[in-house]
Subunit: 365 residues, 2 copies
């Protein structure tokens, strides 16, 4: 087996990390695996180890890329839109005229949610992000931008006195009680795992902050009285422990169809050479990115100072030249979405290796 494209190795530190995507060509097909052939362009969501030259992935986690999709796009689309689609349509029951609050709207899933909401008529989107990111988020279709950390509840009530239909909480945050109270009757509160899971900050899921939903419990009787629902969504467990293949497969199909129809497009923050991964990760940790950070094995690294700086100041992958079509496409996306990096924010995206060869070797489905 040979790697066709570049490689990157890294080990995630926490067990719940989303977005371990890779895209590439099938190098070898496991015994008895049908539906894939060597050379197929695929995107995969392995459980860790995506950042390698060769990735061995169970068939059920490998998806053929649609015609015309770049590897970069595939890696930027697959998890974010898979999560977003399940949240909105499978769990959230979004429909015309409904309203939704999206936490971390500047993150990869947040931006995917924003795009998918716009495929449904008259959905009112309240997007929560730090004020520093608001300018970058203008023009993306977010109906009302709210400032994270402020009392946005009263702001929402001003616009929609009855509250909202759907609250999508990827923070497991400190404001969940207020969020639940904002739900209309028949409203749904969904806690999902996405950001805050890499850096282990104090705000994070496994951090020190003890948010209500880690500590408090919900009375079904209260749900009954309130006409409300609470659900959890955890993609990694779904993919790797619970193996809900049919829903995943049909959702990937729907997402790719939307992409083919031009109704969604990946939002890439910036593209980085492999050698610059520390800067790229620092940018994520500083929550400065809007959209996906892509690692491109074919990029030239940035010139380093004699003593390597620890910080990520001035890191602008998009100023650099790159050599590959995929990266160019990614840049165009980034530009279209005004997705240059600035400010400090609570969103982040996982670094993901692109174009590692996905080797559909096992048949664990």
């Amino acid at each position: 087996m040979m790697a066709r494209r570049g490689a990157l190795e890294a080990t995630p530190k926490t067990p719940f990390i989303l977005g371990f995507e890779c895209a590439g060509d099938v190098e070898e097909v496991g015994e008895g695996v049908e539906g894939f052939a060597v050379g197929d362009k695929v995107v995969a969501i392995p459980e860790y180890r995506a950042w390698a030259e060769l990735v061995s992935v169970p068939k059920r986690l490998v998806y053929k890329m649609p015609e015309g999709m770049a590897y970069t796009d595939a890696t930027a689309v697959i998890t974010n839109f898979l999560v977003a689609h399940i949240l909105l349509f499978e769990l959230g029951g979004i429909s015309p005229g409904k309203s939704v609050i999206i936490h971390s709207v500047g993150g990869g899933v947040g931006l995917a949610l924003t795009q998918l909401c716009q495929t449904v008529p008259d959905v009112c989107i309240f997007g929560v992000a730090s004020s520093a990111k608001h300018k970058q988020l203008e023009g993306l279709g977010i109906t009302h931008l709210l400032e994270r950390g402020t009392d946005y509840v009263s702001e929402v009530r001003k616009v929609s006195p009855e509250g909202v239909d759907l609250f999508l909480d990827c923070l497991g945050g400190e404001e969940c009680n207020r969020g639940y109270s904002l739900l209309k009757p028949l409203g749904k509160y969904i806690i999902y795992g996405s950001s805050n899971m890499v850096t282990g900050e104090s705000k994070s899921f496994f951090g020190l902050a003890r948010s209500w939903w880690q500590v408090d419990k919900i009375s079904p009787l209260k749900l009954f009285d309130d006409n409300k629902g609470v659900a959890g969504f955890n993609l990694r467990r779904l993919l790797h422990l619970q193996a809900a293949s049919s829903t995943i497969n049909s959702t990937v199909e729907k997402v790719f169809k939307l992409w083919s129809e031009g109704k969604i497009k990946p939002v890439v923050d910036s593209t980085w050479a492999l050698e610059d991964i520390s800067e790229a990760m620092q940018k994520m940790q500083d929550r400065k990115n809007v959209g996906k950070i892509i690692l491109d094995p074919a990029m030239e690294p940035k010139p380093k100072p004699a003593t390597p700086a620890k910080g990520a100041k001035g890191a602008k992958g998009s100023d650099k030249e790159d050599k590959k079509k995929g990266s160019e496409a990614a840049k165009e996306e980034a530009k279209e979405n005004n997705a240059t990096s600035s400010g400090k924010e609570d969103e982040q995206e996982e670094v993901n290796g692109e174009e590692g060869a996905a080797d559909a070797k096992e048949n664990a489905s």
Copy 2:
């Protein structure tokens, strides 16, 4: 104001009673109320007091009946299908290929759920009912009939090892933990108020049985780990305290459209003269009915023995003659659905007065 049709007065004993429907003609329209005219055929869902000659109902709880719908049908359709439609489509996210467990499948909402499930391709219906009712429930499209009170969990696992997508629990029952455990990832457990609410039996919602969801609480973290959701649905509160008009209105429209297309039809257990209400209620309390029990003011009462019997033995409203078209239609429905009464079961339906004149007098929406 004059009553056009017969009347019946009764007072519900518990505060959460569904199914207080009435159908009739608009006698008077409140000041400033638009969209209704005297003489309109309407069905209404007032908060109590439906069993009266004249019912004053806020506009938002009054719905014009579709062309060709009998009063009897309207009262038998409105609440059952409203509840069932919201449960399946608004909250449950039912879609082709999914599976659902319906508790009290022989009840009014249960039968409505069964019919609505069949408007979606390839939905697998597990229906729970006492064995005495199974024969009556055959041929209605329930994929697997399960016996209430038995360990049906293992039966479900035999058919569907992964579990089910949706669990609809109107019992607030003692088996909820098992029900939750039966959910597939992304599955939803919905507790709703319907039966068990009139008679105040020990099994009832407000009875002595302390079911898990009245006592226990759910950890959102567990929902997150399990990829599951829990929701409550309480129509009376929704209608009268929370006034979610837009969802209710659009759902009533959808239900009437399905009725007009012949895709759903009301299931009437039996029709009773007003004078026989005690027998009718006894039948409900004994859980012997399958489908709706209708009170028809125009029916002749059954000949009474010298000393009125307290029980409901031999009560067969459908053997009697009646005088009105509505009642005939109801009987036809009852016959089509093989809905004669026998056996003992846990389902029940609320008695509802039919053809009380609905007077859209107030404008409280």
